[in-house]
């Protein structure tokens, strides 16, 4: 049986045949641009593999890189082992995107942002926290934070600090670490946090995926509110909507919206499918 290529199926280009050729080439052109745009902006339906666990959650702050002692390297893992997400992101008010909070030496010195705790007096575990952005010679410890490109200036090392923590499929299982009392998270700092009336925790619920081949998600409100309270997620990350009406697509998550606000760079990454899609088979991309 003779095989026909696509080219053979289309009649040869001749006067009077241009419209079909033009349509086909236009279609291919459109498809090429579409695919190129999607790939170029990395909008594929699989999240990118994360960096080594020791660098996961690292935030480089360099809004004032031109002046001062250089970019700040903030490692989430150290603070995560001591404080809830809510304390820093709600009470102190850090944004969840690098370089958008407006942290500066002057705000730190006034007792905001890092300076809310890093003021030389507030003590955790019996030790006063070093003052950030201090111009006094005896307390100048700039490189403890401004450590980009510098070696042997950080006090805590990831491997030794987290050696005993239970490990997850990727990185540390913070949930298990807290359950086993290996870490105890502070949620309230005097002078920074304010007492508020408790709110009833919302229930855990299942999220039904749009596509039949995707395993359903079990979302635990209870677990999230322990670290985040309500205000961290609502209303900015998850605007209130009637259950079942909002569509939290994987694409949106990968772009940093909704679940991706945390589960892309700080909390367990999106490629740990089974943490949410509990019944999905074990598969690592």
């Amino acid at each position: 049986m003779p095989t026909y290529s696509i080219r053979r199926r289309i009649p040869p280009r001749m006067p009077g045949n241009e419209s079909i050729h033009n349509s086909c080439s236009a279609f291919l052109f459109v498809a090429a641009i579409f695919v190129a745009a999607r790939v170029a902006s990395a909008q594929i339906y699989l999240p990118q593999p994360p960096p080594p666990a020791s660098q996961y959650g690292q935030v480089i702050l360099n809004s004032h890189a031109a002046t001062g002692p250089g970019p700040v390297v903030f490692d989430h893992w150290l603070h995560r082992s001591k404080f809830t997400c809510r304390l820093c992101h709600v009470d102190i008010g850090f944004a969840m995107q690098a370089n958008t909070t407006g942290v500066s030496a002057s705000t730190n010195a006034q007792g905001f942002h890092c300076g809310a705790c890093h003021n030389g007096t507030t003590a955790f575990d019996g030790k006063p926290t070093f003052a950030s952005c201090s111009n006094r010679p005896e307390t100048k410890q700039c490189y403890r934070c401004h450590s980009a490109g510098r070696k042997d200036v950080r006090q805590y090392d990831y491997e030794s600090y987290t050696a005993k923590f239970p490990k997850a499929f990727y990185g540390i299982d913070w949930e298990a670490a807290e359950k086993s009392h290996m870490i105890q998270l502070t949620d309230f700092v005097e002078g920074v946090s304010m007492k508020k009336a408790p709110m009833k925790n919302r229930e855990d619920f299942g999220v039904t995926p749009r596509y039949s081949w995707v395993h359903p998600i079990a979302f635990s409100h209870q677990k999230h509110t322990v670290w985040n309270g309500c205000e961290l997620c609502h209303p900015e990350i998850f605007p209130a909507a009637e259950k079942g009406t909002a569509h939290y697509s994987m694409l949106a998550n990968i772009q940093g919206q909704y679940c991706g606000a945390c589960h892309l760079k700080v909390a367990f990454p999106l490629n740990n499918c089974q943490r949410c899609h509990a019944s999905a088979p074990l598969w690592a991309p």
């Binding site: 944004a95 995107q97 304010m194 709110m199 919206q257």
Partner: protein, 265 residues
């Protein structure tokens, strides 16, 4: 021609995939930044730095109504369309900032002057101060230290401060406000949230009318005439509609859930 249309459509589709900026946790404004309004209708066009208006200074001295009804400021930055001439003639900012009105024993500096000398620069910069370090008569920390604290916003519980007599906002401006009768107290009422499990909202008309009167909210911000017919969604509110006209940028922000959702289920 068809090719051009296809290309255009393809490019539009491609760009539609661009990531949006919704659903991102923004920074929480610092206590002294909360309520800041940048006004730039004409400043930069006249080689002046944009105006930075701080709500917290004025909030302690006047009710919302004095400025937003009697003086006539709009509720959105830039919507009032203030000009230097308006100020000089004694309208808008010039209603008080006229060099004559006395507050706390000091005459309030005059806003805007057509014939200004180099020596006036420090006076201009008291308002035209965006991105400049300007000395103010009011230091936020000294100002807020004795006041009762709140969780968000300016970190000040304005309501409590007024109840304790620590601030006494004036509701009448001589020469500007019209003498009115006392307002018959409006009833407080509950609003039922449609999201189950969220505590009911107790809306206090009484508290709001103390500072706002009636015209500030009705009908511009709240036009529904029949209770129960208008739906106020959190999405709308966070975009600045209804409650969000104030409770996103000036009054306590939406992250303070229990201030409204206060009725136990």
């Amino acid at each position: 021609m068809r090719k051009k249309i296809f290309t255009a459509l393809a490019l539009i589709l491609a760009f539609c995939q661009a990531p949006s900026q919704t659903g991102v946790k923004k920074k929480r404004p610092l206590p002294y930044e909360f309520g800041q309004v940048i006004i730039n209708n004409y400043s930069e066009k006249n080689d002046l730095v944009p105006v930075v208006f701080q709500h917290w200074i004025h909030r302690s001295m006047f009710t919302c109504r004095v400025c937003h009804v009697d003086v006539g400021f709009a509720m959105k930055a830039g919507a009032t369309n203030i000009t230097a001439l308006d100020n000089e003639r004694g309208y808008y900012c010039g209603a008080c900032h006229n060099g004559k009105m006395v507050v706390n024993g000091k005459a309030v500096f005059q806003a805007c002057s057509q014939n200004s000398a180099a020596s006036d620069q420090s006076r201009c910069q008291r308002c035209h101060s965006a991105a400049l370090k300007v000395d103010s008569d009011f230091d936020f920390f000294r100002f807020s230290a004795p006041l009762p604290k709140a969780r968000f916003g300016n970190g000040i519980d304005w309501e409590q401060a007024e109840l304790l007599g620590l601030i006494k906002p004036a509701d009448f401006l001589e020469g500007v406000s019209i003498k009115r009768n006392w307002l018959a107290v409006q009833k407080d009422f509950a609003l039922n949230p449609k999201v189950e499990g969220m505590p009911d909202i107790i809306f206090s008309h009484k508290k709001h009318t103390v500072w706002n009167g009636c015209e500030l909210c009705h009908p511009d911000i709240f036009m529904g005439v029949k209770r129960g017919t208008t739906r106020y969604t959190m999405v709308d509110i966070s975009q600045g509609k209804s409650c969000g006209a104030c409770h996103t940028t000036v009054a306590f922000p939406l992250t303070d859930c229990q201030r409204c959702h206060s009725k136990p289920v």
